[in-house]
Every structure is written in structure tokens, then in C-alpha cells.
Symmetry: C2
Subunit: 356 residues, 2 copies
DNA sequence: CCGACGTACTGTATCGGTCAAGAGGGATTT
DNA sequence: AAATCCCTCTTGACCGATACAGTACGTCGG
């Protein structure tokens, strides 16, 4: 039988409240008594106020729930995700709050139980399959929610911190067409659910994964504005947002006589894989083939990758702040952050055009 | 005023227990009444049984606390750590348990508060500074603990899942000396706290960070057994366990006339950085310079790195299982897992010896 | 000598559930 | 027809703390 506040109170002949105060409000009792209480607690092996009971009474648990899909490491191997979590953790930590990583099982029923039992003050939804049955439960929980991708995914009650994915992608596309490229491939992840890496034909207006969809649409915006029909663009699905998949996808753009002169990727990770593929083939990025990424992860600079810089850490930090200190003004709970085009060495003028 | 079980009970004129049963034990009441209860709950905007209250009563919160040092992303950018967490999450998820990432602030007082308030069933200690004041609190909490590095760090009450770091490192060292190498450099991370990357002289028996210490000692075991005095080995500190630091450290072994012919690293990440450095200098790994890593992260195979394979995911998984289903037998709570030497392309015979 | 005030502590309600034992009533057994 | 059983629901205790109002006592100014 573990010791509780009452055990100590009885032992010393004081009230439970006083023992509680010894821990939570040291100024409410004499230093002398407090010392005796702590000593007795130590002696009886009391482990300190029970966090659960305290949370119940206080109505606050000091935790933010972060929903992740089944494969945790998928989230952690994505540098963008790591940066986001870092920001979120910073904001949480500054408020003495922890992150509850909720691994959503594919089993719907178990998923609902896990979500129902999660003691959190708020939820951060982040790259979660929007068709999962547990999502309704989260909405019902009535706690603050922040989402990071599709601003419309959870209705207007949810906070949102994001970027204008489509406009950002358009800027990349414009950069590429302004360099004279016409033979363009787009490498995008998760165009097809559970699909394999390879060329696909898909309507950009009808992609399931929001981020990819917006980015692909942004590319198309730039192309069509430049008079380049979408049909001329080669769309290549990457089965996962991994560097290796980027390499594999690149093969479909490079190993053919009508080689693409520019490859636009929906993430830096994929773009790095594309660069690997170029290296293997002895092709020079920015000269023979132009490559762009998205996110500006730390490795992007190392490899001179032209990309869109988005404030990943900041995104996570703001998400945390929105959850823990919600602004009065509802408008302040939906933030679209600025991005910038970072032109580095992996993009250059269309080489075939120069020759003509 | 949010709805509770009582609100719904009053509304329908049933007892609170019955409403509770509607959620937690559907077989305890008629389907008809249950349907009515759920409908009323929905109508009143009831968010389901409060997880905190439920946890208090049940005495279980379905969460494992994972202690991390201040910089979260440090843990997530380390592939070994990611694998470990993946395993831990798998074990937890299988038991409908989540991971509470506790970001331990450098501020001692705040750290204690965060730890005290963390509602968890168990703690997983993992790469935590062992001098932090909050660690005592954790021990006091009286919940199961598993540690992953120094088996003696938390006393015999804590569970332990690890490998024999020293013996494993020794095998790498033996491999290298058996290839005839005599000019050896060791690249190790965190030899010096907050130090810079560069050559240092340090007593292997006196390194603060346990894992590095054991691995360096293992290297030395092999060297001295082969008659190679430790003084002949060049010890290079890497300021962080990052690929870039590996490259920077390698410079100290490569850019001099008495170039090392073998570089042993305390992690694969550092070794990959060393390989980068070789590449820049036009040196061939395994021919001009032999390089070894440690851990066998996924990228190791890609780069043909000779290394020690340890079951990282398994380590995390077992840690989780030990915490959630503790075996009766105390001996079963201290596991040392087997490792294997994986010889790939980055090690080969000493080239200078061949010439003579 | 009295009211005002501050300090140190107590008492009780409350947070929102779960659990074990029990009660009422219809169906089944003997 | 009495005994037994099961199904469905109720009762009351309990989980371990915190909040707030209140009490007792000492001190101080007037």
C-alpha cells in the first residue's frame, strides 16, 4: 500500500491540506513544519503528489497529444517532421508541458480507445490519415486542436499553422520555366496510396494527400501560365518520402532518350535522392539537369539544392503556442507563414536550349 | 460547464454507473439503454469519459515517460535513437500505451516539476545526463524504470536492455589490427563536454559519457592485446554525433604526412562523415584508409561500412515489454543482447604494409 | 482593552470517473 | 410452487489530490 498525502498527515497529526501545501505552496506553512513533512515523506517512501490526481483536480495535465500514424520512425526520419517536432517541443517545454506521442494503430477500435484514454490538454494533428475513425473522437474531446497541413481538414474550430503550399510550389515552377526548361518531370510522394515508385498519370486536382496535391497543383499553375500543358509533364510517384525512393523515381526521368532537363520534387529528401541518381550517372546538377526540392532541410544547403525555405521549427513552435496560449481573436489562430525561394546550385538554364 | 457522466445520468434518470458502463462495459447494460445513453451524450456534447479521472481510478495511465535532454531533435536525428524509439513505440502501441516525451529543461527546478507532474506508468531513461537533479525524483516515483546505456546507472532496481559495448568494440579493434593496421585514429563523440572537434588526449578509463567510454576502452583492449600501446593511437573528439562532425574529425587524421591507415568511430553516423572526408580527398575506403562504425544503421549497408550490428529496434521493443509486462524473475529484467561484427567494404589490409 | 490584521493551519467540497456488492424482477429449473 | 439463476441497473465507497472558506492565535496601533 503506497503512501499518500493522508498517510503523512496522519503520521504527523496535521491535515492533509497542509501536507499538500508543503509540496505545492511552500509559502503557506512554516518552514519548520514543511521540513518535518518532507522528512516524514522521505521516511515513508512517499513518491510525491500523484500526478494523475493532481491533474484531475487542477483540470490540466501538461501534455500535448501528437498523433502519429502507425510507423513512428516514418515521422522521425523525415527531417521536416523532426524540425516541426523540435519547435513543438520547445513551445511545450517552455510551459512545462510534455508531448504525448500517440501511435495510432491501424485497427480502428484500438485507435479509438487509445485516443479516448489519452490524457492531454490539446492535440496536434500532423500528417495523420484523415480517414481514420479516431479523428471524430478527437474533435469530440473538446480540447484545442492544431493542424499543420490541410487548413480545412478539421473545420474552423481547429487552429492552423501552415504555409501556402500551392503558391510556394508555383514559385519553384516559375523559376524552372524561366530558365527555359520544357522537358520537366515531377517527383511526388504518395500520389498513389501504397503505390510503387514509377510514372503515373493522375489528375492534380484529385490527389489524396493534401500537401503533395497542393504542391503539384502549384507546379502546374506555373507551367500552364507559361503555356506548357500539364500533359507534357512527366509525373512520377515516389512510394515513400525517402531519399532512396527519390533515386528510384529519378531513374524514370533520366534513363530514356527524351531525358527530362528539370526534375521538381515535392520534398528535399526526394530531391537529394534525385541528386544521388544524377551522381551515379555522371550528370551535373544545375548544368545537365536542374533539380528542386521543398522545405529547405539542413542537408539542402550542403548539397546546394534549390528549394523553398519554410520555417519548419517555427511552425511547430507556433503550433504549440497556439495550443497552450490560445489568442482571444479567432483570426489569430489561423496562421499562414511566409516562405522564400532559395536558389542554389542545382538549378540552371536549360542546356538543350543553349545548344540550339 | 462541460458535461460529465452525471449530467447524462440525470438527464435520463439513470445512475452514473450505468452511463459509465455504457462506455466501459457495454455488456453490462441493455443495448437499447446504451443506445439512448450514447445518443443523449452526443446531444449534450459529452466528450467521453475523462481520461484523467479514469486513470486515477484505474491506477494506470497508459503512458511511458521517455526522458530526453533539452534538444529533442538531437535524439531524432540520430538513426540509432530513432530505431530505439520505434521499437519502444511498437511495444507500447501493442499495449495501447503512448509515449510521453519529457523534455528535461536545463533548469533543475523546472525539470523537477515536469518530472513530478508527468503522469506515466513507467520511465524509459535514454541518453540522459546522469547528473541531472530530476533523476532522483524519478527513482522516488516508484514506477518501473528501464535504462539503455550504463547498466549500473540506476541501481539494480531498474531494468536494463543493452549490449556489451566494450566487447563489441574490441571485436572491431581486433578486426582492424588483424588487418595489419598500426597507424590508427579513433573518432569518438562527446569525449569532452561541450568540446570542439579535434585531437584530444584523454584517459579512456575516465570518460564521462558511458557509451563512448566503453567503446573506446574496447578499442584499447584490442590494441593493447596486439601489443599496440594506447599512446600510439590518435584520439579525436567529435563535438556531436553528426555526420559533419565526423568529416571534421577525419581531417585531423588525414591531413598530415603520418596519415592514419585506419579510423575507428564510435558510431556509424561519424563513420559516414569520415567516408565523406575520404571522398573529398580522393581516398578509397577500405583500400587507402579503413573505416569502421558502430550500430549498423540503415545507411551503413548502403555505404558498405564495416560495423557492429546491434538490434536497435529490438532493444527499444524489449525495453517497452520489460516496462509493461515485467517478468517475475528479477534476472529477466536485465538483458544483454548479442551483437555481430559486419565486415563490409570499408575495411581492408594496411596498404603501407603491403608496399614494404 | 479592543478591533484589525497577518500567519499558520484545518475542514469540507470537489475533480470525474470505476468498481464491487447488492437489489429487483422475469425466466428457468426442480 | 419454491428455489435458482441471469439480466439489468443502483448504491456507496474510493482513487489521491487541490481549492477555498474558515478558525485559532498572536501582534500591533490607538
Amino acid at each position: 500500500m503506497a503512501a499518500t498525502l493522508q498517510t503523512i498527515a496522519d503520521e504527523l497529526g496535521v491535515s492533509r491540506s497542509t501536507v499538500s501545501n508543503a509540496y505545492s505552496r511552500p509559502d503557506q506553512l512554516s518552514p519548520d513544519l514543511r521540513a518535518r513533512i518532507l522528512a516524514t515523506a522521505e521516511r515513508l517512501g512517499y513518491s510525491g503528489p500523484n500526478p494523475t490526481a493532481r491533474s484531475l483536480r487542477r483540470g490540466k495535465v501538461n501534455a500535448i497529444g501528437v498523433l502519429l500514424t502507425d510507423n513512428l520512425s516514418m515521422a522521425f526520419t523525415d527531417p521536416y517532421a523532426v524540425a516541426y517536432l523540435q519547435g513543438l517541443a520547445e513551445a511545450a517545454s517552455a510551459r512545462e508541458t510534455s508531448l504525448l506521442l500517440i501511435n495510432l494503430p491501424t485497427d480502428d477500435e484500438a485507435g479509438r480507445r487509445v485516443v479516448s484514454n489519452a490524457a492531454v490538454d490539446a492535440f496536434c494533428l500532423y500528417c495523420v490519415p484523415d480517414w481514420h475513425g479516431a479523428l471524430d473522437l478527437i474533435r469530440q474531446r473538446g480540447v484545442p486542436i492544431v493542424i499543420g497541413e490541410d487548413p480545412n481538414a478539421f473545420g474552423p474550430d481547429a487552429s492552423y499553422v501552415g504555409i501556402d503550399e500551392r503558391a510556394a510550389a508555383r514559385r519553384l515552377g516559375e523559376h524552372i520555366v524561366s530558365l527555359g526548361h520544357r522537358d520537366i518531370a515531377v517527383v511526388a510522394h504518395w500520389i498513389v496510396d501504397g503505390g510503387v515508385t514509377g510514372e503515373v498519370s493522375a489528375d492534380p486536382d484529385d490527389l489524396r494527400y493534401y500537401v503533395t496535391g497542393e504542391r503539384v497543383r502549384g507546379f502546374r499553375d506555373a507551367f500552364t501560365a507559361a503555356g506548357l500543358p500539364w500533359e507534357r509533364v512527366r509525373l512520377i510517384n515516389a512510394a515513400a518520402n525517402h531519399r532512396e525512393q527519390g533515386s528510384a523515381a529519378a531513374a524514370h526521368a533520366l534513363d530514356r532518350h527524351d531525358r527530362a532537363t528539370a526534375i521538381l520534387c515535392t520534398s528535399d529528401v526526394l530531391a537529394l535522392g534525385v541528386l544521388d541518381a544524377l551522381g551515379v550517372r555522371g550528370l551535373a546538377p544545375g548544368r545537365d539537369v536542374s533539380v528542386t526540392g521543398f522545405d529547405d532541410i539542413p542537408d539542402a544547403e550542403v548539397h546546394g539544392l534549390t528549394t523553398i525555405r519554410q520555417p519548419s521549427v517555427e511552425r511547430g513552435r507556433l503550433a504549440g503556442e497556439l495550443l497552450l496560449d490560445p489568442p482571444e481573436d479567432p483570426a489569430g489562430r489561423r496562421l499562414t507563414l511566409p516562405v522564400s525561394l532559395v536558389v542554389r546550385a542545382t538549378t540552371g538554364p536549360n542546356p538543350t536550349k543553349e545548344q540550339s
